[in-house]
């Protein structure tokens, strides 16, 4: 046992022991303690004191498990109340996303005692309070997205039997949660959940999720003016840009006419798993040719092969629409700025100019200093003109 665990066990023990050292009128055993002789200790203890008694600074994983261990050693009754009170505190103790928490809670139930032995027990919900409590624990686990494994299934089976009400719950979880866990094909959640990612890493994952062109390169650019910066610019340490642009976008940019209006819009919000990220996008007006999503096929048109050769050559030689050229805009690049202001956007544009020198000749409007972050679905109004810059005047 680590020293840390020992310390927390001792401190928790000290905080919690008091609540156990009450003479009980019904039980046959008495907890022997010097403190039990005091008059105020003779009142019945509240079952929720176990977790509430732990001071806020010490509420940690070790404290939680220590409290459970203490309960198991001391108490042979009132499992349900204890588990209910534990469920109220799992978030505060920071253990709500761990499978071990739920295993420890379900291990409190006695094994074998609650398994139905005859048909009537099977029909009627045998030990209903305990089964409902178990379902509440599993509900909490499902709510927090914790995936079950065979061990927790076996714990429930040993407590309630193979085909019981609570066991059905864990069987359903074991069947459905793995089926749907990786249904989101836009992210690799193994890289994001349970990991302590920096803001820049998270932004990189978010940009990867949003970028629909597989050839997008994501660059991490560290800003900060170098040795010439003064000592007060310590906050610039966290100044960076994560920029995402693909080869096709660069080609589109190179092919734009001089003086095209390019807009840098943001910040927009996107969620990557549970983290909200603010990103910024650079767009140009849409192409002149109409955006065709559907090809009409008449019965006659389907069977018409009279122009087959010209159609075929047109398909082969003509350039189709890329994924960046959308109906209302053409997306040229996306990025996440550590500071969402026009200045950082200008630095981003200067970074992009290294690979796309034609950007200097464009009319770039930056509209970031607007305050409210939005979703990409809501259009930013071109209202506050003070914030509109042209890149070539900078």
């Amino acid at each position: 046992i680590s020293i840390q665990l020992m310390k927390t066990v001792v401190s928790t023990f000290g905080a919690v022991y008091r609540s156990y050292c009450q003479p009980r009128t019904i039980s046959t055993c008495r907890f022997v303690s010097a403190q039990s002789s005091r008059p105020e200790e003779t009142r019945l203890a509240h079952i929720e004191r176990q977790f509430d008694a732990v001071p806020k600074e010490e509420r940690s994983r070790e404290a939680f498990h220590a409290a459970i261990v203490l309960f198991k050693e001391r108490r042979s009754r009132q499992h349900v109340e204890f588990i209910h009170s534990a469920l109220k505190y799992i978030k505060e103790f920071g253990v709500h996303k761990e499978l071990d928490t739920y295993k420890a809670l379900l291990n409190i139930f006695p094994k074998g005692k609650m398994i139905p032995q005859n048909t009537f027990q099977r029909i009627m919900l045998h030990y209903p309070q305990q089964q409902n409590c178990c379902v509440k624990v599993l509900d909490e686990m499902e709510w927090h997205g914790v995936q079950p494994d065979k061990e927790i299934h076996d714990i429930v089976v040993n407590a309630f039997g193979e085909w019981n009400f609570a066991t059905k719950k864990i069987k359903r979880m074991v069947y459905w949660m793995p089926k749907l866990k990786y249904s989101n094909k836009y992210i690799d959640r193994r890289q994001i959940e349970g990991k302590k990612l920096t803001a820049a890493e998270l932004s990189g994952h978010a940009l990867k999720m949003m970028a629909r062109d597989p050839a997008t390169t994501i660059d991490f650019v560290k800003l900060g003016d170098g040795p010439s910066s003064s000592s007060t610019d310590a906050h610039l340490e966290d100044d960076w840009i994560v920029s995402a642009q693909s080869v096709q976008q660069r080609r589109i940019l190179a092919g734009l006419k001089e003086g095209t209006k390019i807009t840098v819009d943001g910040p927009f919000r996107v969620y990557i798993m549970e983290h909200p990220i603010q990103y910024v996008k650079m767009t140009s007006p849409p192409l002149d040719k109409p955006f065709e999503e559907f090809e009409k096929h008449d019965m006659v048109g389907r069977e018409d092969f009279s122009d087959w050769f010209s159609e075929w050559t047109r398909e082969r030689s003509g350039r189709g629409r890329s994924v960046h050229e959308q109906r209302n805009e053409t997306v040229l690049a996306m990025s996440v700025l550590s500071k969402n202001d026009n200045l950082s956007a200008e630095k981003w544009i200067r970074y992009l100019q290294k690979t796309s020198p034609s950007l200097e000749k464009m009319m770039v409007h930056i509209r970031i200093d607007k305050g409210d972050e939005m979703f990409d679905t809501e259009k930013k109004e071109d209202v506050n003109k003070e914030e509109v810059h042209a890149a070539n005047t900078v």
């Binding site: 709510w143 997205g145 085909w163 059905k168 359903r172 459905w176 089926k179 749907l180 249904s183 989101n184 094909k185 836009y186 978010a206 999720m209 949003m210 970028a211 629909r212 001089e258 003086g259 927009f268 919000r269 996107v270 969620y271 990557i272 549970e274 909200p276 996008k281 767009t283 999503e293 559907f294 096929h297 019965m299 389907r302 994924v323 960046h324 959308q326 109906r327 209302n328 805009e329 997306v331 996306m334 009319m363 607007k370 409210d372 939005m374 979703f375 990409d376 679905t377 809501e378 259009k379 930013k380 109004e381 071109d382 209202v383 506050n384 003109k385 509109v388 042209a390 070539n392 005047t393």
Partner: protein
């Protein structure tokens, strides 16, 4: 071309994120009245409160403690369970009293509207057999043949969709709205909040949804049977990275089947790119009132009468999903009938419960 001057706008910047017209504090403040039907925490196929059409402002003249009186005509509310006295699950439903005056006032207008609808229906039901329609019905679809069924260009298109969230039922504090944009699309947006209303009934909260309510004349159901031979459901949308849920509702004749639906998550990747999300119909799993069932069967589109998109991903915060169209597409290489195990249970077995 240098420094092209742009005219300064004199008007103040209009806030695009205007606050929802439904005040959440107000919803929490008005006390629920009589005989509320017990609802499960995440009843995400629950219809919106009676009388509330999309974007309709709930009357703020309602005094504190007063309950909105259920309307006789015009409201839309799916009955929940015929076993309870309060069939619709709406407070005050079983105690409602309607004057004859109300019938006389509202009846004619309602009847006129419904007969007009019926007329339109009958006139569109032409007897001639269109070649393309017949092919569609018989299953002669080409690969990648698609059909954009629900678009969002006109206000009539949008009026078919109703929003719902937990605060409508006084079970939470989320907000939702469904508004058109100037691009011919519509945005389903709002804020999700998992804060629990402390009334002792609600255990979990935080859901918002939009549901299609396209009814024929006289509230008759319309089925999406024209989708029968297509293999995938296709939604062109632009989300915010959150995981929504698409549900195909098939409440049939019995009250036991009124909660029947087929669901699948709609994961969005967010960003400025539009997303053509194709979900094969074989992947939809059978849910009843949002709960996944043990016995699975594949969706039969001749029974499906409604589509809804729900958000209940347990993340607090604002959300937005822009929809361009919802339709179907046929992929001839998709031969899967159902993605889940189907089996018949032995005769004397109660495990199907």
């Amino acid at each position: 071309v240098q420094g092209r001057s742009v005219p300064m706008a004199a008007c103040a910047a209009a806030s695009l994120l205007h606050s929802s017209t439904r005040s959440l504090v107000g919803a929490a403040r008005t006390t629920a009245a009589v005989g509320r039907v017990q609802r499960r925490g995440a009843a995400d196929n629950a219809p919106t409160r009676q009388g509330k059409q999309h974007n309709e402002v709930v009357s703020s003249e309602l005094k504190e403690g007063a309950v909105e009186k259920p309307k006789l005509f015009g409201g839309f509310c799916v009955p929940v369970n015929i076993a309870f006295p309060n069939k619709k699950g709406v407070p005050g439903w079983e105690d409602r009293e309607h004057d004859v005056k109300e019938v006389m006032k509202e009846g004619p207008a309602m009847l006129k509207k419904e007969f007009e609808k019926l007329g339109r229906e009958l006139s569109s039901m032409d007897g001639s057999v269109e070649k393309t329609d017949i092919l569609e019905t018989l299953g002669g679809l080409k690969d990648d043949e698609a059909r954009a069924e629900f678009r969002f260009h006109t206000p009539e298109d949008l009026s078919l969709w109703h929003t719902g969230c937990d605060s409508d039922w006084k079970e939470g504090f989320s907000s939702a709205r469904f508004e058109p944009t100037d691009r011919g699309t519509a945005v389903f947006s709002g804020t999700l909040s998992s804060a629990i209303m402390k009334d002792g009934r609600v255990e979990r909260a935080g859901w918002a949804s939009i549901k299609l309510e396209d009814k024929a004349a006289f509230n008759r159901r319309k089925y999406l049977s024209q989708w029968n031979n297509y293999s995938h459901l296709m939604i062109k949308c632009r989300g915010d990275g959150r995981s929504y849920k698409v549900m195909l509702h098939s409440p049939l004749a019995l009250d036991m089947t009124w909660g029947d639906s087929y669901s699948f998550p709609l994961h969005t990747h967010g960003g400025p790119y539009w997303q053509y999300e194709r979900i094969p119909f074989s992947k939809f799993f059978h849910t009843v009132s949002g709960r996944i069932q043990d016995r699975q069967q594949s969706v039969s589109l001749t029974d499906v009468s409604s589509v809804s998109i729900v958000l209940m991903d347990r993340l607090d915060g604002p959300f937005a999903l822009e929809l361009d169209w919802i339709g179907v597409v046929h992929d001839r290489s998709h031969i899967e009938e159902t993605a889940y195990e189907t089996y018949t249970l032995p005769l004397w077995n109660t495990h199907g419960i």
